[in-house]
Amino acid sequence: MHSEQQLADWREKAFRFESEIEKAIVGQPRAIRLMTIAVFSRGHVLLEGNVGVGKTTLLRAVSRAVGGEYERIEGTIDLMPADLIYYTYLDENGRPRVDPGPVLKHGERLSTFFFNEINRARPQVHSLLLRIMAERSVTAFNRESRFPYLQVFADRNRVEKEETFELPAAARDRFLLEIAMDYPSDDDILDQLTFDPRFHDVDTLLGAVGEAVLPFRELDAIAAAIQTSIEASPTLRAYTRNLWRASHEPERFGISVADADMSELIQAGASPRGMSYLIRAARVHAWLKGRNRVIPEDVQGVFYPAMAHRVFLKPAYEYRRDELVPGLVDKILHSIAAP
């Protein structure tokens, strides 16, 4: 059991982790904070954003600071599940060889698996990834390999829809957070990104990020300690329940979104797993703020990235998702009171 002091020490480590990442990524404090929350909740993250906002750079910086082995794969339309497990080639003697692929290569030292452009891969690949995310294990070569420290980061860009495969609901539900990254709006930061030669070479930029700031083997233990030591009072539980109900039946709480029939809007709200993820993230949020209990602001701080991708709209409204869901989530947060 971790003591108060250990939790405080780990909080210092978390802040150091953030400041290391800030060496490579400027103008995205919220995204960095949410990545930290994901790392300490041991949850998988899907990054979303336009081209060139720094999604890949952020993920590479995080994986470098987390330590452990890091593997990355690019999603392409012809990528098959087997490509993750093994690859075949002819060795120097002309014999066919089969070697472990990116997932198996590092064994259990694999701490960060980074799936670039996930929506370019086929559903078959998604389902394998689903298993890796959910169980941290994969069966290959007649044995089961386990990855106890694995955290999957994936990104996808919002711009292109051609030759892409939308992630199924089940796969999306496996991600703890879906973090939207946008262009920085601050003029100074835009100038910095545009004119400062430091940002022109990503590899040099990432070289400035301290390696293995967080000991990856201890992360599971500290994440569990955070979950047990941060309290959630009955009032907060009631608040969370109401948020959950509102995500299923907004009309019951008098929530309405412009140009949508509220009784015909929601196909499915957040799952119980989604709610547990929300509270996991909220507890880490509270811990980073130096509290030993969760308050509504902690839940609100992670509500959008933890919940928006878990609300599924009916087909008639799904194509307007990007326009409706932010408004719906915002309305939910602004209409449920606590106490």
């Binding site: 309290e231 009072s233 907060l236 030993n292 209990r293 308050i295 602001e297 209409s335 009171a337 606590a338």
Partner: protein, 315 residues
């Protein structure tokens, strides 16, 4: 109406001959339009119109018009001057309304006295020349006008002779009543509306009244505080939170307090107390176990009442 032309005037008014300039002078046309010269009785109004055309450089001196009280029995009621310019001439139309109060005992000849109209010349600059100088000004004699007045009746009217005595004066016409009644009704509506608004401002209206949020919270807290030791603090806190949510229009959480004070500056004087309330409430609701709060019921009630006064605009 009869016109007396300048030439005729010159012919009949010997006294004016010297003053009236010839046709080459500055006065180009002068007409006097008068009504019938007979059949007037006491109190009648006699209207006379003068039409004068002069050079553009000449300007009428309005002070030369007759004054309102002309003599013992004659008054000038109105004198309207309309000035216009056309064909390089300055034209005046002067409308005079005299009222005669002469009470003749028999038909009598009377006259509206003659008077002089003075004209000043203006130079090229438009500034009047010195009116004292002989060349700077001239005058026009308006002749007297004679008319006859008659008594209203014979000096003594005797009933015995079968003649009608004088009828009493016509009763004064009563002014219409609809205007004042409409005005009174409009004032009543405006007054009622203003009273209603004042009542709303002071929170006396049952519907959507000011102070309703904290009013309800105050009643709840007061009722709860009667319980003494075993008071239900969670209900009291919740009532006050509910009031804050109502005033803010959406749930108010502690991180939004700064926005709340920006949007509702009236609560700014209470900032410290409201923040303390939120800290205490969060400790109460989200802390490990309900502990002794820094807010006894009396303090909660005081906060409630202060916010109630602010909500009612009484502070």
């Amino acid at each position: 109406m009869r016109r007396i032309h300048l030439a005729f005037l010159l012919a009949i008014s010997g006294a004016a001959i010297a003053e009236v300039p010839d046709s080459l002078g500055p006065i180009k046309d002068f007409q006097v339009l008068t009504p019938r010269p007979f059949g007037y009785t006491i109190g009648d109004v006699i209207r006379e119109t003068l039409i004068i055309s002069v050079d553009r450089e000449a300007v009428l001196d309005r002070n030369s018009l007759p004054r309102s009280r002309i003599n013992r029995w004659l008054e000038l009621r109105e004198a309207n001057v309309v000035e216009s310019e056309s064909d390089g001439l300055r034209r005046y139309r002067i409308e005079l309304a005299y009222q005669s109060f002469y009470a003749p005992l028999e038909v009598k000849n009377l006259a509206i006295p003659a008077f002089k109209l003075v004209f000043n010349s203006v130079g090229q600059s438009g500034v009047p020349k010195d009116s004292e100088s002989a060349e700077g000004s001239f005058h026009l004699d308006v002749p007297a006008w004679r008319f006859t007045m008659a008594p209203i009746r014979e000096l003594s009217v005797l009933r015995e002779e079968g003649l009608e005595p004088m009828r009493p004066d016509a009763p004064p016409q009563l002014p219409g009543r609809s205007g004042p009644i409409r005005g009174l009704a409009a004032a009543g509506v405006v007054g009622f509306g203003a009273g209603l608004y004042l009542a709303y401002l002071h929170g006396y209206l049952p519907w959507r009244r000011r102070g309703r949020h904290f009013g309800a919270a105050c009643r709840t807290v007061r009722a709860l505080s009667r319980a003494g030791e075993g008071a239900d603090y969670s209900a009291a806190y919740a009532a006050i939170h509910h009031a804050f949510n109502g005033v803010y229009g959406q749930p108010l959480f502690s991180e939004q307090l700064d926005e709340f004070f920006l949007e509702r500056p009236a609560y700014e004087p209470m900032r410290a107390e409201i923040k303390a309330f939120f800290v205490s409430s969060y400790e109460f609701f989200f802390g490990q176990e309900p502990k002794e709060t820094g807010f006894p019921m009396s303090r909660l009630f005081r906060l409630c009442r202060d916010c109630y006064d602010i909500e009612r605009n009484l502070r």
